[in-house]
């Protein structure tokens, strides 16, 4: 096993996906993404995006974080939601527990009010999943620390890929 700052396990991944699928159906939205606040994509559900999702995830995280700094400057703790309105498509972002961001992309076939309402419920459900995930991680990281060691073959393999990729 590789020790990271956080990990997504299969059961939690599918639990998150299930909540997000329900959200899309009930709000009539096109797609939904879950992003950690360092800009890494966790999962996306719904219509496959036709844009670069890695770039999108990093920009969403930066957007959210910049807005939180603005909030603090004006004396607020943070802005827990953001809304960007376009001519055809819009996006709604909401903070989940533990530095995770939910992004919902929708068009004119639904309304902001409905999206906000459904996102509120989804935020509660996803927050519970994320909190459980972190509790599990704390337990497993303790286990890891006791047993020590990692998959040497994986590390060697990745090192070899680094050498190949960054060869002049």
């Amino acid at each position: 096993m590789v020790k990271a700052d956080w990990s997504i396990y299969e059961e939690d991944y599918w639990a998150m996906n299930s909540v997000m699928s329900d959200l899309l159906k009930s709000s009539n939205s096109r797609s939904s993404l879950l992003i950690d606040r360092t800009g890494q994509l966790i999962t996306n559900v719904g219509t496959p995006p036709d844009f670069d999702v890695q770039a999108f995830a990093s920009l969403c995280a930066a957007d959210f974080e910049a807005n939180n700094q603005l909030a603090q400057l004006i004396g607020e703790k943070d802005f827990s939601t953001l809304y960007h309105q376009g001519v055809e498509d819009s996006m709604y972002l909401a903070r989940i527990a533990r530095d995770v961001i939910l992004v919902v992309l929708f068009d004119k076939s639904t309304t902001l009010g409905l999206v906000r309402l459904r996102v509120k419920r989804a935020v509660d459900e996803l927050s519970a999943i994320v909190e459980r995930l972190f509790e599990k991680l704390e337990y497993r990281n303790e286990e890891y620390d006791e047993n020590g060691g990692m998959d040497a073959e994986l590390a060697e393999g990745i090192e070899s890929e680094i050498d190949k990729l960054f060869a002049d």
């Binding site: 590789v2 020790k3 990271a4 700052d5 956080w6 990990s7 997504i8 396990y9 299969e10 991944y13 599918w14 950690d36 606040r37 360092t38 800009g39 890494q40 966790i42 999962t43 670069d52 890695q54 770039a55 990093s58 920009l59 930066a62 974080e65 910049a66 700094q69 990692m150 998959d151 073959e153 994986l154 590390a155 393999g157 990745i158 090192e159 070899s160 890929e161 680094i162 050498d163 190949k164 990729l165 960054f166 060869a167 002049d168």
Partner: protein, 192 residues
């Protein structure tokens, strides 16, 4: 903050290029982007002013091959170097797994280098991090300028702790991949 997704079999790590304004951070990333195969890199995002000065950040996702079923990605970021963009620099450092400090070897920029290094320490502290806890590599960029300080002077002034360092001329690519290779491996070792 490295992320392992066991379901999608992905490992993601974040590397940030830090340093004074016009030191060569964006040049490093741009060179990496230009040289790599299209199937190993994503979109290069640059949020810059009209004068091509980094306003918020540059971002480049790189994909290594699949190893034991795990797809490994390194996300490269640069911060804006100009002094008054400190709020942005702080944000970009969030969740960092490895740092490259791109120092400007030009003797007239030594103060800017020192200030940027001090600023890095300060911003890391706000994230409850210390430099000796994170994979950190120094790059002595612009070795080609006539007024470049000797590297031993740079080491004394900017690297008394003796972190790994590389000479570079980022605009022509010299030292860019060596630096990145080193910090990537250090991030990997930390994951171990």
């Amino acid at each position: 903050m490295s992320l392992i997704n066991y379901s999608s079999r992905e490992i993601n790590c974040k590397i940030v290029y830090y340093g004074p304004g016009l030191g060569g951070k964006t040049t490093n990333i741009q060179y990496v982007y230009d040289k790599l195969n299209p199937d190993t890199k994503g979109k290069l995002v640059t949020l810059a002013t009209e004068m091509d000065r980094t306003l918020f950040f540059d971002f480049l996702p790189l994909e290594l091959g699949t190893v034991k079923g795990f797809k490994t990605r390194f996300h490269l970021y640069t911060v804006p170097g100009q002094v008054y963009y400190n709020a942005s620099r702080k944000l970009i450092l969030r969740g960092v797994d490895g740092i490259v400090f791109v120092a400007d070897s030009d003797e007239c920029r030594i103060d800017a280098n020192v200030e940027a290094l001090y600023n890095l320490h300060e911003n890391l502290e706000e994230h409850n991090l210390k430099l000796d806890e994170i994979p950190f590599v120094m790059q002595w960029n612009k070795r080609d300028v006539p007024s470049a300080l000797p590297t031993d002077e740079l080491e004394t002034e900017l690297n008394p702790e003796g972190f790994k360092s590389f000479e570079a001329v980022a605009i022509s690519g010299d030292g860019v991949f060596d630096t990145l290779k080193c910090v990537s491996k250090e991030v990997l070792h930390k994951l171990n």
